[in-house]
Chain length 303, copies 2
């Protein structure tokens, strides 16, 4: 099953040097989940040939402009391009007020249902449960209410042991129940235990998105053992004071968080405009956590 993230924007605060404000597309089994939506996200989707019409869920971490100013334009384009199916939007409560005000003055009535759910940055909430994935908030510590998001694959059914199934000539209609853990009773009354007929599927993979936060312990339990941890790394550690003051994380700290919480892989982003070249940020994180990559526009990372 496809489970991969494509970076649409990696810049903090202001767009610069071909870096766009934050946005990411998570593809889970060909369903697209948009995570944050900085200004120009629609243009980035055109550039990287991502079909906005395939997005059914949008998650906004917080209401700093570099994380949501592309949203009203995107909602409007979906409307103009004939969308009819519902769109599920999650974000801080005032986001709805902001959208409604802009739609009101443009006299736009969206032709599709926009189902808004307000997030609460003070507690963990489950936002989505479907056949592919569950999505939870990760309460973070930023200057204004902010949540990350934890995407966890749904546990897959057990895998049939093909040779055994064929040897016993088990009828196809029973496959699903065996995949779900049932034993098999043969016509002669012999019971075959599920363990002899199927094996456990791979452990569900997780993608953790930690946007704009001080590195604080409260969210570490949620991100433990992430298959891919995206963590903001706005500054080099030489700017630690500035990072603290603005409630951000340094690249070194991001590496330490990945290390201490047993991430399998780390992706850093949300780079300050002061860094024209990102090599130092990457090297700093890799000095403590070697399996680190830069969240660069247009790059896709399998999870």
């Amino acid at each position: 099953m496809r489970f991969e993230v494509t970076i649409l924007g990696s810049s903090s605060a202001t767009p610069i040097y071909n870096r766009n404000p934050t946005a990411q597309i998570l593809n889970v089994n060909e369903r697209l989940y948009l995570i944050d939506c900085g200004e120009g996200t629609q243009q980035q989707m055109l550039r990287f040939d991502i079909k906005a019409s395939h997005i059914d869920h949008i998650f906004i971490s917080h209401l700093h402009g570099d994380h949501y100013l592309g949203l009203v334009g995107l909602l409007s384009s979906l409307h103009l391009n004939g969308r009819k199916k519902p769109l599920y939007l999650f974000g801080p409560a005032p986001l709805k007020e902001i959208i409604d005000l802009q739609l009101k003055y443009s006299e736009t009535v969206l032709q599709y249902p926009l189902q808004f759910t307000a997030t609460d940055a003070d507690k963990v909430e489950t936002l989505v449960v479907n056949d592919d994935v569950t999505v939870q908030t990760i309460p973070l510590d930023h200057r204004i209410p902010c949540t990350g998001f934890l995407f966890r694959e749904k546990k897959r059914l057990r895998k049939l042991i093909k040779e055994e199934i064929e040897r016993l000539n088990i009828p196809i209609p029973l496959y699903t129940s065996i995949k779900k853990g049932a034993n098999y009773t043969a016509p002669d009354g012999t019971v075959y235990s599920n363990d002899s007929l199927s094996i456990d599927s791979a452990a569900p993979r997780t993608y953790c998105y930690c946007s704009d936060t001080l590195p604080v312990e409260k969210y570490y339990p949620q991100i433990t053992n992430a298959d891919l941890l995206y963590h903001e790394a706005t500054f080099l550690n030489a700017m630690l004071d500035r990072a603290k003051e603005t409630h951000h994380t340094t690249s070194l700290q991001a590496g330490q968080i990945a290390l201490n919480n047993q991430a399998k892989k780390l992706l850093i982003g949300h780079f300050s405009a002061r860094y024209k070249v990102l090599d130092e940020l990457l090297e700093e994180a890799r000095s403590v956590f070697p399996d680190t990559e830069l969240a660069i526009e247009g790059k896709t990372f399998a999870i």
Copy 2:
């Protein structure tokens, strides 16, 4: 004196095919005037090396998203990049409410004065008068309140006839009064008429920006004799019914307006996303008004 317009966006409604929503930069004597500010305008300015810090005046024609959704991001970036000098913003009254709401929830207090003036789409208003230019609104006829903008150079001082000034050995401190129309009285009492010492300067140039409108007579007197007329041309004339329904203009109509109102040159833009190639739009306008150009991203037109 420099008087030229650079196109940052030419697309109507949705960004597409490398076309961005509407925005233009007018350079008058090295002062920059931003006209409309669709999503991604800041990125376009980076792309075309236009210094946002040199903008002191922003004009928003109306509150359809493709004309203003890049504004809050731009205001925020100017703030983050240390702007202190005032910024003058003109647009429909609710624009202020929209900006204030977004600044409130991002907990941003702009570090520079944002001087907002509400426009009234029901009457002609003079918005700016400075040493270089006067700016007036052009009330248009769109689905929601909408104004264009008329930029008229200030009348330059008269030009001295150098040979005559030198022959009479006129003192330099008197030059300015002669440029303003005064006669010169020589030490022997002879009076030299201003006409013999100076000639009239060139007629002030005008740039007319007509965004999103039905072609209706009420605004024609204001755009008469424009040195450069920008007029929207959203559709080909084959889509005349759709143009009427959505309160837009066809390319043929834009050409006719330029012809009937003695424009010196016509620039068409605000192209519907249905036109991947723009040749037909250009040919249609040129069929009635040959001196027509397409408003293409990155192109600069001297006025």
